[in-house]
């Protein structure tokens, strides 16, 4: 079970409170986690990754276990602590603007 923490605006958009818990088939990677997230909440498609290129949107970052995973390959395995559910996978918006 993977725990995902969304930015507040995306929690509102998807009508979720708190963390999202996802069961991942196969290896847990950024791609498989985001695929599962978007499958459950289709409204999130395009809000985290570009609809066409599937690249992370520029003002969003991925963190876990106090590490910045934003620039890791999308098919790289997530840290063991995320896979075990001990630590969440965080999607964070850049602090900018007003």
């Amino acid at each position: 079970m993977i725990r995902v923490i969304l930015p507040a605006h995306l929690r509102t958009l998807a009508h979720v409170e708190g963390e999202v818990e996802l069961e991942i088939q196969g290896q847990a990677t950024q791609r498989s986690v985001l695929d599962a997230l978007e499958a459950r909440y289709p409204v999130l498609r395009g809000t985290i990754r570009d609809q066409v290129t599937q690249k992370r949107r520029p003002f969003l970052r991925f963190f876990a276990c106090s590490e910045d995973l934003s620039h890791e390959p999308p098919d790289a395995a997530l840290p063991d602590a995320v896979i075990s559910g001990a630590e969440p996978f965080l999607i964070i918006g850049a602090i900018a603007g007003g």
Partner: protein, 391 residues
């Protein structure tokens, strides 16, 4: 008694203002989509309870919202929560440019600020124009400039790529606000005819429901571009039309207020005695096709009213002769802007005129502009105002 519903898009959410036909007492609902920029909301002429909204964010991209109950509740078409089963089509925010060979080329680049060619990149929906007949059909004008159509209630979108593909696309370039398609006008008499406008490319017309397009910019003069009378490249800010006379168009260009009496084939300047002919909004009285409204703005580098006086100008002669409308509007220390989609009229017997400002005020006139009062005065910066006249 008739009612009026004013749909307001702001930098931090949407608001709906409602009143009875007297337009004296207003109920304010919202904010909806809190914290997101709402570039535009518009109701369907075929079903006033069907409203579409463009919700957008620099962080999270584009979301299209839809209401089927007059704005009380909203849904993201195709974006509902699914806990199991096959993956649904949640494409309400999927705007993909058509690059297919059969659509015609070139479709992939436009001119960037520095003159180099730049790939088209979707950024947001600026304007939603519901079909005149079908509540599930809606056009979307987007940045980077293109026209999309949904025929399934904003669930899925398809580009009308004949616009970008007709030939002048590589000469289009972004204005200061981005390269946006911001105006969509549907001709009620000739149902195949659509007008659109792009900053900074100009005005375009289709006579076959959006399949093929041609520029309609003859008569426009823009001193800020290398060839002031070029076929494209003009920074058109907004175009308005009275439904009963769809061949007569009124345009607020970057500078100059213009008029066409032949469906955009040619344009004449009608700025007349305006104190400045820079501005963004323009609209037409609901019952008097020769009565038009603009809000003059000082200049392209100073986006506020002249002398700190917020004045709507009205012409009852289709341009050239203008009168300042000031009653109820601030006449000192006012330095707000009125953006291009932020003026609208209602269709009550005594035409109501409405506009929103970047200072968060929405002003209403229930007497065709003779006097004004604020419905609200402390919203986030207003981006768009539309009005529905309800039975």
């Amino acid at each position: 008694m008739s009612k009026v519903r004013v749909l307001v898009g702001t930098r931090k959410g949407a608001f709906i203002l409602t009143s009875d036909g007297k337009r004296e007492s207003w109920e304010v609902s919202g904010p909806f989509f809190t914290g997101w920029e709402v570039y535009h909301l518009k109701g369907s002429p075929a079903d006033p309870n069907r409203i579409y909204a463009s919700q957008t964010s620099g962080w999270f991209g584009q979301v299209i919202q839809r209401s089927s109950d007059g704005g009380k509740t909203w849904e993201t078409p195709g974006g509902g929560i699914t806990m199991s089963g096959p993956m649904p089509k949640g494409e309400s925010n999927k705007f993909v440019y058509d690059t297919s060979a059969e659509s015609g080329k070139p479709l992939t680049t436009h001119q960037f600020y520095d003159g180099t060619q730049h790939p088209w990149e979707f950024k947001r929906v600026w304007h939603l124009e519901p079909s005149l007949d079908d509540p599930d059909a809606v056009y979307a004008g987007v940045e980077d400039a293109a026209l999309f159509l949904s025929t399934d209630g904003a669930h899925s979108w398809k580009e009308l790529s004949g616009l970008r593909g007709h030939g002048t696309g590589p000469k289009w370039q972004p204005g200061a606000g981005g390269m946006c398609l911001h105006t969509i006008l549907l001709d009620q008499k000739n149902r195949g005819r659509i007008y659109i406008a792009i900053s900074a490319a100009g005005a375009f017309r289709s006579d076959d429901t959006g399949k093929t397009w041609r520029p309609i910019n003859r008569g426009l003069k823009s001193q800020y571009i290398p060839d002031p009378t070029a076929e494209v490249g003009h920074c058109v800010h907004h175009i308005a039309m009275h439904p009963s006379r769809p061949d007569v168009l009124f345009m607020q260009k970057h500078w100059d207020v213009m008029r066409s009496d032949d469906g955009g084939d040619s344009w004449q300047e009608v700025s007349g005695n305006l104190p400045t002919d820079f501005g963004f909004v323009i609209d037409v009285h609901a019952h008097e096709p020769e009565t038009i409204y603009v809000v003059p703005i000082k200049s392209d580098s100073e986006h506020f009213p002249l002398e700190g006086k917020l004045r709507v100008y009205r012409s009852r002669s289709g341009g050239n002769e203008w009168e300042a409308l000031t009653k109820g509007l601030p006449q000192r220390d006012c330095y707000v802007n009125v953006l291009r989609d932020a003026m609208a009229v209602d269709a009550l017997d005594k035409c109501g005129v409405y506009f929103g400002t970047t200072g968060g005020q929405v002003y209403a006139s229930a007497d065709a502009g003779d006097s004004w009062s604020p419905i609200v005065r402390d919203l986030p910066p207003v981006v768009s105002v539309e009005v529905q006249t309800l039975p």
